[in-house]
Amino acid sequence: MGKTILKVDNLKTKYITRYNEDVYAVNDVSLEVEEGKSLGIAGESGCGKSTLALSLMGYYFAPLHYVSGDIVIDGKNISSLEPDAVRQSVLGQEIAYIPQSAMNALNPTRKIINFIEDVVLAHEPNSDKKEIRQLAETRFELLGLPKSVLDHYPVELSGGMKQRTVIAISVFLSPKILIADEPSSALDVSSQKMVIKMLLDLMDRGLVKAMIFITHELPLLYNVTDDIMVMYAGQIVEKGTARQTVFDPLHPYSKGLMGSIIVPEAGVRNSKLSSIPGVPPNLKHPPQGCQFAERCKYVVEECKTHEISMRPAEGDRAYRCIFGEDVLRKAYNNG
């Protein structure tokens, strides 16, 4: 067992719409990431993946509000901090975030070196700019980025290069945990591979101690992360190792997701894809009982009335369903 870097207990956050309705986008999420491990979060658009990322960082700016639960990073509880205090002492040093579209994350009128100066000066206002430059050059070389990038404007870089630059800037202060939110979905396959290699390199070199990787691309998640969590309507519906979740999904929703995997390997062509019918529930008025009941093939009357909690399963995993694992596996085998 490694040291626990991030521990989240029953985290609940909500959006307040302008008509004063509460939308619980992260609902009762608990997770734990150990040193040297990476955790993947999978799910459809709108299931709360990105909100979870923002919540983990303590980034509570309206309309996002904190409700309850604890976030502990390396022994330090950040859930009770004010957003501004979080920005000063947590972001960058404890936890770093890579947004989906690096193209829009950089101010076009500033050079790359300026962003790095900003990051360092925000945490240590008395640093020397020459020293920062030296540090930046060493760090960029270490990460396989040319030094000349430092003096370029963001528009002069290609998409993949920009994304890698953003990663290098986010981890400049060697944070304990890195959250990558769809870091490669706007890129083509070759740049995607470079970005992933860079993230794994960061872990190997110990520049970040643990990683949370958010994407809807399951083959990617399977190759990158140690554990996978599946999210649906703000809740975790399944937790397990990457191999367990991809090859032996328990929750009917995970099963549906795994049916949509497309890879260029023999036997895939003209095979039947399974897609999940229907749309996710409107979280303004969440249904009673199981959130997935409306779209589930194996639904019974009880699903719609009983609140369902996570239940443990064999092999140190957990899922949120009314049925036992044997019943589910049998149902999947029968189609």
Binding site: V189, S190, G259, I262, V263
Partner: protein, 275 residues
């Protein structure tokens, strides 16, 4: 008009497109030859900047051809006047990458679908029949027409918009559908349903589907024939099984290597940062 029985749906000889601006010249599509058979699913695969979209625009008649000739059903394609172009567009339709910018934001969904019926010459059809046709099209793509009336496209999600696009094609019944990265902005779950719908639509109205993508896994899943493009040239082509299971060109091999897989290990050691 074109020959109805011609096996070849769309073909091109020595097709070239050069973008010129001042003294700089960019060869986007470089002297390519192709032949798409009717009723098949053809994928064009390549990285960003390989000329896939430029080829698509030329096939659609949205941009001029610098040199070479496109043949539509064996006859040279003539879209010199706007009347001829509109006639051609009855046979070829497109779905684009970004569903959010594919619609006129001032047009209601009813009118989007109604326009398609009118384009097929259904202007004089009684109103009830038009509604029945629209309902059928929506049912085909798993949307409920009753929930869409009096709504605007921006009230739908990205996946729903893209499905509405397919409903349009269902009503228009073109001979060719050109889909330019139709699923790259959509999550994996909706992507599966959209691919299934495109294949179902192909069988339903017997059209040729030209599918443009950078994801070779998608291309393998959906297509009968695959064309691999690199820097404006077609480097490899053939049936999907042939090209993707036994690739010959180094470029094709690299594209296949770059896609994360689940049954085989994903080799990250080949990554060269200094590309």
């Amino acid at each position: 008009m074109a020959d109805e029985t011609c096996e070849t749906c769309l073909s091109g000889t020595n097709l070239t497109k050069i973008y010129a601006f001042g003294k700089s010249r960019t060869v986007a599509v470089d002297n390519i030859n192709f032949c798409f058979n009717a009723g098949q699913v053809i994928s064009i695969v390549g990285e960003s900047g390989s000329g896939k979209t430029t080829l698509a625009k030329m096939l659609l008649g949205l941009t001029n051809v610098t040199s070479g000739q496109i043949y539509f059903r064996g006859k040279p394609l003539d879209i010199s006047t706007s009347k001829k172009r509109k006639e051609y567009w009855k046979s070829i339709q497109a779905i684009f990458q970004d569903p959010y910018s594919s619609y006129n934001i001032f047009t209601k969904i009813d009118d989007v679908l109604l326009d398609c019926i009118h384009l097929r010459g259904g202007r004089k059809v009684p109103k009830e029949e038009k509604i029945a046709m629209m309902e059928e099209a929506c049912r085909f793509v798993n949307l409920k027409f009753a929930e869409l009336t009096n709504k605007y496209p921006f009230e739908l999600s990205g996946g729903q918009m893209q499905r509405l696009m397919i409903a349009r094609v269902f009503l228009l019944k073109p001979k060719i559908l050109l889909a330019d990265e139709p699923t790259s902005m959509i999550d994996a779950c909706s992507r599966a349903s959209i691919l299934e719908m495109l294949l179902k639509l192909r069988d339903e109205i017997n059209m040729t589907l030209i599918f443009i993508t950078h994801d070779i896994g998608l291309a393998y899943f959906i297509s009968d024939e695959v064309y691999i493009m690199e820097h404006g040239k077609i480097v490899e082509s053939g049936s999907a099984d042939e090209v993707i299971l036994n690739p010959k060109e180094a470029y094709t091999k690299r594209l296949i290597n770059d896609v994360p897989k689940i049954y085989e290990p994903w080799d990250l050691s080949t990554v060269d940062y200094h590309l």
